[in-house]
Structures are given as C-alpha cells and as structure tokens.
Amino acid sequence: MRLALMMMLLFYVIAYIYLLSDNLQFAVAILALWIVIVSNIHSRRSDKKFLQINIPLVNMIYISEYLIISIPIIVCFLLNKQWMLSLCLVIFCLLINKISINARRKSDTLNSFILKRLPFKMFEWKSGVRQFHSFLIIVWLLGATFSFFEASVPLCIFIIGTLVCEFYKRNESWQILLCYQKNSDKLLYSKIKQYFLLYTVINLPLIIIYLFFHIELWYIVCAEYIIFLSIHTYCIFLKYAYYDLNKSETNSVFMLIGFFIGLIPITTPVLWIVSIYLMIKSRNNLKFYLNDYN
C-alpha cells in the first residue's frame, strides 16, 4: 500500500517537473530547489564517517548516489532542451562531496533566534523547526527572493506546508498532554488557534510579496494557504483521535492519504468532513486523560 502510494507520488512529481521544466523560469526554480534539497541531505548524512573509514573511493559513492537520484530531473531537463541546466545539475552532483558542513551535529544543540521566539507551548514546532532549521530558512528566503517568478512562492508554501505535516507526526507523552491543564475541547481549540496564528505569521509575508508581483494570480496562493490549513488541521485531529500512551507516532498512512485528498482541490471538502469526524473522535479520546480539567 505504502509502496504503491509512493510510486504514485513519485510519478506525479516527475510528470509535474517535466511539464514545468518546459518554461525556463520554472526550470531554474526546480534546479535551485533540487540543489537545496540535495545539499541538505548531504549535510545531514549520518553515515559520512562510516563511509570515510570503510570505503576507499568515498567521493565516487556520493557522486553516483546523487547522480542517480538526480536522473529524473536531468532527463526532464534534457527532454525540454534545457541543456545548460542539465549540465549545471551534473556539475553540482560532481562537486557536492566538497561540502563538509555537518548540519546534523549542529542541529543537536541548536537554540537559534527563531526557536527562542516560538511559543513555548508549541513543542511540535520547536522540534520540527529545529530538525529542518536551515532548510526551512533557505526555502523561505528563496521563495521571498525569487517571488517575481510565478512558481516561487507557491512552491515555497508547498514545501513549508509539507514539512509542517511532519511536525504533527509524533505523539507527546502524557506529561506534556496534561501540562496544559485544559479539558479536551479547550486543548484542541488552543492547539488549532496557536497553529493557525503561527502558520499565518510565516506565510503572510510570502503571500503579500507574491500578490505585489502577481496580483492577477491571487487565487493560487490563497487556495494553497487554505488547502494547507485544512491538511494541517486534519493532521492535528488525526494525532489526537488516535492518541495512545503506548504509541509514539500517529498513523502515517492516514496522514499521507489525508495529505493527498487535501492537495486535490476537488476533494478538499472530503478532508473537511473527515476532519470534523476526527475532531469528535479526538475529543472523546482525550476525555479519558483530561476529564479532570472540566
């Protein structure tokens, strides 16, 4: 089931990249995004030391791995006759091993300005932002900087929105659940409210910049913003609907299904209906733990 979903997603993404890379501006944006993703993967790899010790030609491993995962994009560029961009991507894959930053180690003790500004009750965001810290900042800045491209901000909102889903994947311990000292209704309300405010604060500048350059395309970012609000609300309710002391993670298959249902604008209302069902279920599920705070 998971494999089938992953294959579908992969096919969908590659087809979309192929269609977009016909346009030079979109192709440049795709290249920039891909470079950011691969750099991030490379800087976070935990097997670097192991490879250095055990593999004599470690650079060849890196080059071959990054070339293999870049093949779909290179092929899309070649099919659309984006020769320079294809070459740039190949050169990037050849030089990526020169990056020696170990972002993984840095993130372990990261207490940046942004993390300190996040509300202390939003532990999911503190954890998630710490995990994807540099990547989120780079994506946000690239999105804002290249907002004169039509695809820049929508792509940025998409990436940030997808990562935020990941924030709500893990269950908290009951100690954290009880620390709010609120009943289930108030807890869910405060969770949704805090999420809504924070997500809006992050996206609003991007939306304003985008509207400044492309006012005629206002509906794209607005629809995307609403779609991701719906998906994240679904994720929050899903987490608490199936909250269990003995489970550290929420059901990722349900999360993935909700994500895809939400992404397709025609089926987004289905997600709203499911979210209402999950809201009722999470209220009932949390009552056992939080009834004392009624």
Partner: protein, 227 residues
Amino acid sequence: MITINGLTVNYTKDKNVINSLNCVFQANAIHGIVGLNGSGKTTLFNAIFGLKKATHGSVLYNDQPLTKKDTSFLPSENFFYFNITGNEYLSLFVNPTFDTMQWNKLFNLPLNGIIDNYSTGMKKKLALLGIIKQDKSIILLDEPFSGLDIEMCRILRLIILKLKANGKTFIVSSHIMETLTNMCDYIHYLQDGIIKRSVAKDGFISLEQEIFSLKDHEITMKINSLL
C-alpha cells in the same frame, strides 16, 4: 487523606492485577509501596493517577475523587518529545515561583541540550525537575531512585523530606527496601494486587524480616540444589 476503596484493575478479564485493594494513605506523609516484580506497583500508580481505568472501586482525596489537578506522577520509564531541549520541556509546566536555573544547580543538567542525547539518569532527573515544578499536593513516584547515581539519590531523598515538611504527600515505590526505610513514614507491602501489610516506622524491621526471611530460606534451598 487518600482513601482507596475496593480498587480492581485488570488487563484481561480472567486475571485482576489489582484485586479489590483497600488502603488509606495519610496526608503530609511519605508512603512507601514495596513489592516484588509483577506485584502490581506500576498498575496501582497508573490507576491512582488515572492512566489506567479501574474496573471497580474508587480513589478519594479528602472524600472527593482524586484528580490530576492534585497529583503529579513520575513513571518508572520516562518518555519525552523528540528533538526538544530540557529547558523547553520544563517551560511547558507553568509555575512562576519556580527558578529553573537555581534548581538545576542541584541537578546539574545540560538544559540547553536535546533530551534525546541525555543518559537514562539525566532523563530521570529532568522528569523529577518537572514533577517538582508542577508543585502538586500529592506526588506519586514509581521507582524514583532507579538510574540515579549515589549523590543524586541522597539529594532526592533530602528534597522529598523537605517537600513533605512543606505539606506534600508522597507515594513512592521501590524494589529496594533500604531506600524506603530511611525516608518513609509508612510502608505498604503489595502482593498479588492487594496490600498485605501496612506498617509505620516502628514496624519496618519486622516487615522486612517477615517478607524476606521466608524468601531467603526458599532461595538458599534452590541455590543449594543448583550449585
């Protein structure tokens, strides 16, 4: 005063882990729960705190149902949220009078570091700090000394005694009798889901002899037959 009336808890219908347990815990005292593995200590704590639903019976605090508003609970195994720091965990508990930095001089934890990188003992200390910060009138501690070093065990004992002097009520479990005898006002012996005996300070030695003399004899016989 905490009163437990006919508390029954089970995981499967055919076997009760806590079996119509009746007990009274005096307020402003330290109560030790002692029992062998599988005697139902953790289940009893979970049921008192409300993490495990009781099949029958009730837990009352001053004749009212005991709620989580009055109680904090340190489980034997602690689980924290992924990728947050000790400071971030503690900041979730609201207590304006609690000075985290001053308390940490006793606990000596790297509060700006990610909890996932803490050792087992450090995680236990962090959970204890969280419990102290909550400042509830009833504190349940399930195996609080396991995983702690000798110095920290001494510090924790002194903290518990001081908090008791400030009016808190403790229910503490341990496998090791000595950790309870030098701190508790009462010890309750839990066996097969019921409190077999409850003794005050003057009865600790006789309780210890009663529990272990028979066991020691049985164990010696078994070892002799094996070796």
